[in-house]
């Protein structure tokens, strides 16, 4: 059973447009929601993350929106650029155990930003 569901599987956006990727989770124990960006031949790299005590977090052109009651969160990329073309993974983690813990990932979204 997949604990974090991600959509869409792929996305094509024109340069300057807004890219939106959605995720939904099942486990209410999750309390940390990161997004990872992966370029071909590289490993996933942390892009931005949010805790459930806030509804939105913005870092530059990247924004996470979080809806705790709906158990959903999304990544918005404003003014999308060709350099943003990559695979994006949402993830979730139980952070409050005090010890390091595993990430639970979505299936990934391949984003292509066209000129």
């Amino acid at each position: 059973q997949q604990q974090v569901k991600q959509s869409p599987q792929s996305l094509i956006v024109q340069k300057g447009g807004i890219s939106i990727i959605n995720c939904a989770y099942e486990n209410t124990a999750f309390d940390y929601f990161p997004w990872y960006q992966q370029f071909p031949g590289k490993g996933p790299a942390l892009l931005i993350a949010i805790r459930p005590d806030v509804s939105e977090k913005k870092e530059g052109r990247f924004t996470i929106s979080f809806n705790k009651s709906a158990k959903q969160f999304s990544l918005h990329i404003m003014d999308s650029q060709p350099g943003d073309s990559a695979t994006y993974f949402c993830a979730a983690r139980v952070l409050n155990t005090g010890t390091a813990s595993k990430l639970t990932f979505g299936t990934g979204t391949r984003l292509q930003v066209t000129l």
């Binding site: 991600q6 031949g41 790299a45 409050n96 010890t99 813990s101 990932f105 990934g108």
Partner: protein, 114 residues
Amino acid sequence: EAGVTQFPSHSVIEKGQTVTLRCDPISGHDNLYWYRRVMGKEIKFLLHFVKESKQDESGMPNNRFLAERTGGTYSTLKVQPAELEDSGVYFCASSQEYSYNEQFFGPGTRLTVL
């Protein structure tokens, strides 16, 4: 500072053969994780070491997979004997001590079992 490194970057083997993947974490990172992504699916957790001890191996698919981290430094993941469904990209990640510390991922090893 060097990141997480993995070796080999690609491996093509036949069904029934043995393959060993290696991960060198960032120096000083006690936590080491193995994950796997089968084509088109999610990145799935395999196991988690804290230093040389297995903290969580709930994601290991079966007893054909053996992970070790002798001395708490690098780790190996052995698949013996390999099956077709073992094909995928194996990622290693490492992090510092506490739960809030970021996990840094290596570039992965792409394993193809023919």
